[in-house]
């Protein structure tokens, strides 16, 4: 499928939500966290691309954490963005029941940014060591690491 056609079909699937086109091959859609599962189910049912990665962004100034779900279809990239409060530990529904292989991405994000994934089949640590302190989330902007 052509890139622009792919983006158009994604737009049709996601008409109810505010979207932007930050680059020629990209579509960003902002969702409320409670709509995430339904939207992901729709994308999977429509066989629109595949989940490429989940990125965490710490918006310290806004006191929020942003989670970006990147889907790819050919050169087209669709990003679903959700915003969560930074404190207490933000919580979002796991998408593993819909996309099982998302589990490793969620585990990485969970331990690095301190996000709880509800109804995830596995929330064990993936990268961080067993004796890592439980309240330090290294990729948050205010994490104190003894680097210096």
């Amino acid at each position: 499928m052509d890139t622009q056609e792919a983006l158009k079909s994604a737009e049709t699937l996601l008409t109810d939500y505010p979207s932007t086109r930050p680059e020629e091959n990209r579509l960003d859609v902002t969702l409320a966290p409670e709509n995430l599962s339904a939207v992901v189910s729709n994308l999977v049912a429509a066989r629109w691309g595949y989940l490429m990665a989940i990125t965490g962004l710490d918006q310290l100034a806004l006191d929020q954490l942003e989670i970006l779900y990147h889907f790819g279809a050919g050169a087209a990239v669709l990003t679903l963005r959700i915003l969560l409060p930074r404190t207490p530990i933000p919580s979002v529904e796991s998408i593993c029941p819909i996309i099982p292989y998302a589990n490793v991405y969620e585990r990485e994000l969970g331990e690095m940014f301190g996000v709880e994934f509800r109804n995830s089949p596995n929330t064990d640590r993936l990268f961080l060591p067993d004796d890592w302190c439980s309240d330090v989330y290294p990729l948050r902007k205010d994490a104190v690491l003894n680097e210096e």
């Binding site: 680059e23 595949y50 990665a53 050919g74 050169a75 990268f127």
Partner: protein, 396 residues
Amino acid sequence: MKLDTTVPQRFVVPIGPQHPALKEPGHFEFTVDGEQVTGASVRLGYAHRGIEKATEGRNWVQNLYLLERICGICSHVHATAYCLGVERLAGVTAPPRAQAIRLLVAELERIHSHLLWLGVAAHEAGFDTLFMYSWRDRETVMDILEALTGNRVNYSANLLGGVKFDLTPELTDKIYKGLELLEERTHQYVDVVTSDATLLQRTRGVGATTREQAEELGLVGPTARASGVERDIRTEAPYAAYPDFPVQVVTATAGDLEARFVVRLQELFEAYRLIRAVLEKLPPGDLQARMPRKIKPAETVSRVEAPRGELFYFIKSNGTDQPERIKVRTPTLCNLASVCVLAIGSQLADVPMILAGVDPCFSCNDRMVTVYSGDTAHTQWTWKQLRQYGIDYYRR
């Protein structure tokens, strides 16, 4: 995927963290019933260095050298993905000659990586002769890379806005000669992996993945292509000089280890063809475009096809000379989780082969964060000390 240890009469076999099949660290736990695997779980992070976090405290140029060191096998693709992303953010396009040289080095790297894998996989199968031959031949491409860039690993061919190295007539000759030898040897390897009875017993029908499974598991790269999934960023979203030098995607349908051997070896022929095409039609011109020091706030996604599959970079700039966030998703993370699923039902003895079959690269996978606890004081250097050491070393 989570290991259920509450069920009795099951035996758990821990494999790793010291080289589980490969000489890199990762930890797997397999539950077995006799010789048959009934469950599996994975734990990573043993080669975790804190690179994603470290990028946030360094400038755009410093990060190029840092990110290139994520992986010792596919260092060039990391640098390429980063450079292409940062150039897009800055609105700069590298000159055509630089893009062609990026492609050339990327394909040379693919040859070295696939031959390396062939050796490792042969070794896992107990076929050490094939391992030694393939690694001997791999030296040919390593010599080419060294002659071209001065380095056997971390070639450092990329710069923001272009490349550092140009091709000379002597180098071109050397590459043609090397390719001739490698092509002849690759024919031999294809013959061996499809006809050697002992090897076929270890590969044919082992770890078979159907097309549906491959899509469900989110496989990428040669691992996915061996199951008939035509997923290759070089053709789906061509970058660097790939629009001018199109790639023929190699696929197979069987999805077993044999198919993965064949797909990777056939990709070598494609790499030889691409390199020759680049050498014949190398565009003239500059090697580097001018890059700004600071980059306005924006976000971009950069994807390239690493030897192991799709490499994904998300880069966010904030108007300074440092990135706000760089997210790296390596192909091994996509493929590794599949091992836990594919291993179930197979013989324990086949597990190392199934693991090697996805061509995992643990150091790619484990990035982020300087981790430290316990007594470290006298051996751990701070970044400042390390940097000063480097400066002093090169001033001498």
